[in-house]
């Protein structure tokens, strides 16, 4: 069973409460499920469906559109090497070949010890720092084959575990809206009047 834990259900309800319609929370909850188990399980998708009012097929329909969601276990560290234009112009292909040789696996697969998954990624918005890669969505810039080797050494030895959380955790900080400060989300059909500050006068 990999439904959401009690603590995560509490978090899920808090997240759902921020949206005028519960289904808007689908992607954040899928992230929560992936954070819990390292990938998104079928049970978690059914559970999310129950929480947001969708069928598990609808939740899977959404989840399967997005590349970050994995439906089977991946390595503790996911290395995404960017292969789009700016990085390709500055050696991304060579870097990918080097990574494949070094780890003995092809792009898109995981090392036998389950530690590292290698993926080819598309543009990561670090084009001036090419070639770049991400480890569990943490950046490394202007990466040389030697630097990639020492990165892999460090990951294998567990030296970076304080900086880079295991796969599944993206942001390690959550938004928290204090109850006494929240305006609160209202279903759109319940709102019929203009916001109070649109009365032609200054708000302050």
């Amino acid at each position: 069973m990999a439904r959401l834990t009690e603590e995560n259900v509490r978090l899920a309800r808090e997240i759902i409460g921020r949206y005028p319609k519960p289904r808007s929370a689908t992607i954040p909850l899928l992230h929560l499920a992936q954070e819990q188990d390292g990938y998104v399980t079928n049970e978690a998708m059914s559970h999310i469906g129950e929480l947001v009012g969708a069928s598990s097929a609808e939740v899977f329909g959404t989840a399967s559109f997005y590349e970050m969601f994995k439906f089977e276990p991946v390595g503790k560290y996911l290395i995404n090497i960017c292969g789009t234009m700016s990085c390709a112009l500055l050696g991304a292909e060579e870097l990918m070949h080097h990574a494949e040789e070094r780890l003995g696996i092809k792009m898109g697969s995981t090392t036998a010890d389950g530690k590292i998954t290698l993926e080819r990624a598309e543009c990561q918005a670090a084009c001036t720092e090419a070639p770049c890669l991400q480890v569990n969505y943490r950046y490394r810039y202007r990466v040389t084959p030697d630097q990639l080797d020492s990165l892999i050494d460090d990951l294998s030895a567990g030296n970076l575990s304080s900086e880079i959380p295991a796969h599944g955790v993206v942001a390690s900080v959550r938004q928290h809206i204090p109850a006494d400060r929240a305006v609160g989300a209202v279903a759109p059909e319940l709102v019929t009047e203009n916001p109070v500050w649109l009365d032609g006068k200054a708000a302050l």
Binding site: H31, C127, R174
Partner: protein, 465 residues
């Protein structure tokens, strides 16, 4: 400090130029509320709240703040497209930066999250938006952390939430994040994704979600950089804003120049005036092509844009000049190729990107993009034929009927076909798969020809009569 940079803002260089959105990048702790407040933070909001909302909308409209996401539509006018008396209205912030070559919104979110939050507050106050959703690209962990921390601080300090600064203005800003899909940067796809669906663009019309957006309500979708301009605008006024740049392209804009230049970087440049030559060769910008090589081609506005060659270097960052020249400014992303570049392979990296990122909704894009990628791969691998090159144009025609925009070229004796194109798809992903290969083939045909396998037709005759 000319050409200065800081370790904490990788890729960014300051110069002797006005800084509208990057003024805090110099501080290591620029993302904290403390630093923000010490550097005029939330002053723009305070002055906005002291005036009626419609006045603030007029101020933004008169400043002509062009959208910085790609289309360049003025923000004030976009807000004005919402139908009267339909409530609630929403603000969705497009922080899904993923156009190849584009690197600016991530810096703005990581380095100055409060500036963006203040921009959201000003926009929501001015346009009467009831709730704000800040949609950040899924892969940007640090940006999400910085914005989450900033929002938590801002809520606690009374800048966001109920009765902001003790006024009657209230707004919740919800941090939302994606999960990896380029097409979600298209505004109707962004809304679909925010509703919990597959991120596929909606059928048009309506062309603007201002009429029918999130949950079918009037919705403003603005880019991160666009909103980040608002605090400065409120602090300094529309007149000061339009004093920078030109009448049609006022203010500054952030551009990223990457590829084969000596100093790739992100710069805040003066809009409308700065030329591509300044950017690529200027001492305060990229300082020339690497290894003293010649410039072969450059992409002027993100992976979707038709390519330019040295012939277009003197064009300024001004849409009304770049459009007729056959391309677009898009998201401020310039990718530079020097004389050593293998043009067919370079085109393939971009075409592959768009083929990969097609959401699959429109047939010309879903099938056409994949065809283009396959044909081009074959040519790059030296297995293509002349028929393959013709087929590229044929597939392109089915995505974008009619003449496709391209730059002029003196040596080849061809005139420019102006931007934009006609398209058989809902959004720009399909045409974007065609743009790089079309440009490459139009401007560098000989490099493709050199790779083609020449086959002579063998006349088939009967073995015996």
């Amino acid at each position: 400090m000319t050409g200065g940079t800081w370790k904490h803002a990788p890729g960014f260089y300051v110069g002797d130029r006005p800084q509208v959105v990057t003024s805090r990048f110099q501080y290591e702790d620029s993302y904290t509320l403390e630093r923000y407040l010490a550097t005029d933070g939330y002053k723009g909001l305070r002055s906005a709240l002291a005036r009626p909302a419609n006045e603030i909308h007029d101020e933004v409209r008169s400043a002509t703040v062009l959208g910085r996401g790609g289309a360049g539509f003025p923000a004030g006018n976009k807000w004005g497209l919402m139908p009267q008396e339909v409530w609630p209205r929403y603000l969705v912030v497009n922080g899904d930066e993923s156009e190849p070559g584009t690197y600016k919104d991530r810096l703005l979110m990581e380095r100055d999250p409060h500036q963006l939050i203040e921009g959201c507050l000003i926009a929501s106050y001015a346009a009467g938006l009831s709730q704000c959703f800040l949609y950040i690209r899924g892969e940007m962990a640090l940006a999400q952390e910085r914005i989450a921390t900033a929002l938590n601080e801002a809520y606690a300090a009374g800048y966001v939430g109920k009765n902001i600064l003790g006024s009657k203005f209230s707004l919740d800003i919800v941090l939302h994040w994606g999960a990896g899909a380029y097409v979600v940067g298209e505004e109707t796809a962004l809304i679909e994704s925010l509703e919990g669906n597959r991120g596929m663009p909606r059928l048009k019309p309506p062309y603007f979600p201002a009429a029918n957006g999130l949950y079918g309500q009037p919705t403003i979708v603005n880019n991160v950089e666009t909103l980040a301009n608002l605090p400065w605008l409120l602090n300094n006024g529309a007149a000061a804003y339009t004093a920078i740049g030109t009448a049609t392209s006022p203010g500054t804009r952030m551009v990223a120049v990457s590829g084969h230049v000596n100093r790739p970087g992100v710069f805040e440049i003066i809009n409308g005036i700065t030329t591509f030559r300044d950017l690529l060769y200027g001492e305060e910008f990229c300082q020339g092509i690497r290894n003293g090589n010649d410039l072969k081609a450059f992409v002027p506005g993100g992976g979707s844009a038709p390519w330019f060659t040295p012939d277009q270097l003197d064009l300024p960052f001004e849409a009304s000049q770049v459009g007729p020249a056959g391309s677009m400014l898009g998201s401020g992303a310039i990718m530079v190729m020097d004389s050593t570049t293998d043009i067919p392979r370079a085109a393939l990296t971009l075409t592959r990107f768009y083929a990969h990122e097609s959401c699959g909704k429109c047939t010309p894009c879903r099938e056409g993009g994949t065809w283009l990628e396959r044909i081009l791969s074959r040519v790059v691998d030296g297995k293509g034929t002349d028929a393959d090159l013709d087929q590229i144009f044929e597939v392109g025609e089915s995505i974008c009927p009619g003449a496709f925009p391209h730059a002029s070229n003196e040596k080849l004796g061809i005139a420019a076909v102006p931007f934009p194109y006609r398209m058989n798809t809902i959004c720009f992903v399909g045409p974007s798969a065609y743009a790089p290969v079309h440009s490459a083939l139009t401007l560098f045909r000989s490099e493709f020809d050199a790779r083609i396998v020449k086959r002579t037709m063998i006349k088939v005759t009967a073995v015996s009569e």
